[in-house]
Amino acid sequence: MEREVCLVQAKILEKYKWGQYILFYLFAPEISKLAKPGQFVMIRVSEQFIPLLRRPFSLMSVDPSEGRIAIFFQIVGRGTSRLSQYSPGESLSLIGPLGQGYSLSVLKPGDKVILVGGGRGIAPLFFLAQQLKEKKIRVMIFYGGKSAQDLPLKSLIEEELGVEELVLATEDGSLGEKGLVTEVLERKEIWPRIERVYVCGPEAMMRKIARMIEVWGVPGEFSLETYMGCGLGICWSCVRRIKKANSWSWVKICEEGPVFPGEVIKWEED
């Protein structure tokens, strides 16, 4: 457990904003060197006590040569709202990289994989795609949201990731195919050719995909979200039911996750 984790002040280099979505590029060389796709950072959003706790955000893009990392987040409450007010030049206190990421080592060049991201869930998949590209894996991204506004990373994906296929899905049909990303995924009959699926998004979406791939026998990895008090393994707040030695245990997502293979996850019912 002697992890390499850093506590750093990271300067905001660039900021982009699309409605409720924000993208920060930060200067955090130590973290950029250690980070693996699927890992996250804990960010202190206020030096005051409100909110008190750090907030977890996936690493969305990493460039160790420039010492840059990126986070991409949606404003959903007090903490993210406060975070969205920071500007380039200001610094944020970051802890990371934390958690276990997606596994890439099982893949070999030429393999074909699917990445499915719902809304802000695209964040860790972007970083994953960067690394898959380097490994010459053929990547197909499904990127879904309620409407066009929820897919702000479309252009960046097209420009930077060079993926084989980018399928967009919106519930209102305002961009890409109309429907839930899971429905669009179902329509495409691609499963037999797929080596692995990587998923991040709302619980309901992930649960559906987990069922789907069980049927097709394709291995999948899912990035779970829970309430995280510390991100460091010391508060025991972030537990989910995970199958271990054939029984369901409460497992700390911040330490053993947030990414797990589909078959060990107990999905939350609505």
Binding site: V5, L7, I234
Partner: protein
Amino acid sequence: MAVQKVDMSVDLGFFRLTNPVLTASGTFGYGIEMMPFVELKKLGGVVTKGLYFEPREGNPPPRLVEVTAGLLNAIGLPGIGVKAFIRDILPRLREEKATVIVNVCGETVEEYVKVVRCLDEAEGIAFYELNISCPNVEEEGRCPALNPQATYSVVSRVKKAAQRPIVTKLSPNVTDIALIARAAEEAGSDALSLVNTFLGLAVNVETRRPKLANVYGGLSGPAIKPLALRLVYQTVQAVNIPVIGLGGIVTGYDALEFLSVGARAVQIGTANFFDPQATLRIIQEMEEFCREHNISRIEDFIGSFRI
């Protein structure tokens, strides 16, 4: 003429701490999780997450919710159990030269005794902290810490069994802390620590359901500091054994408030969650204060409060 080097050590009578800053149980894991951030031997001591005899699952989530300037938690004391602790964790804490204080829990008085006996066999533990706020020890889910008789009975039984000194950790959810404190003292407790969390509740108005799966939770963090400080001061006045103060400490200044009213050491809890180096920073800030105020030994500051 300013003081160059401050003697930060404090004497608990049964043990001399290199400095008065300990971690609060349940907010620093078993210590080793925090090694990326804190050199453990620099702390006055590491108080472990509460240990029962057997491994425990804890409560279903949500276990934690943020409230204004504080947290409500109902973690439910999950843990690896005392044997795994001795086997897997303790040797590494010893390697790090950490001063180890084990927070001891039990569902019954017998379990407390069993845990302590098991720990007595192991080396590398400084003393024990008895968490008498564990639920379910008495009937009706009420914990011994709310009642002087129950406190006396648990503490005296454990004290008789234990070969190491015992600090009894008190609950703040009582009308008269002096009564409970004296019961623990009479039962032979070597010191007291307080406060554990304040019982609270948060409701999700949309769903009209509790925000914690366990319904009730314990409040910690800056919100409770004035309440904790009052209880610590009252306790110091009520007993003759050392008192360790905690509750909402985030800065060296906060810690000094507790020492001023007579606490001989402090524990840092919730602050670790948002500032993993809070303990080290607090030691530094206290030292700085002493240097600026020409205090050469932190012990000279303890109990300096005058009404």
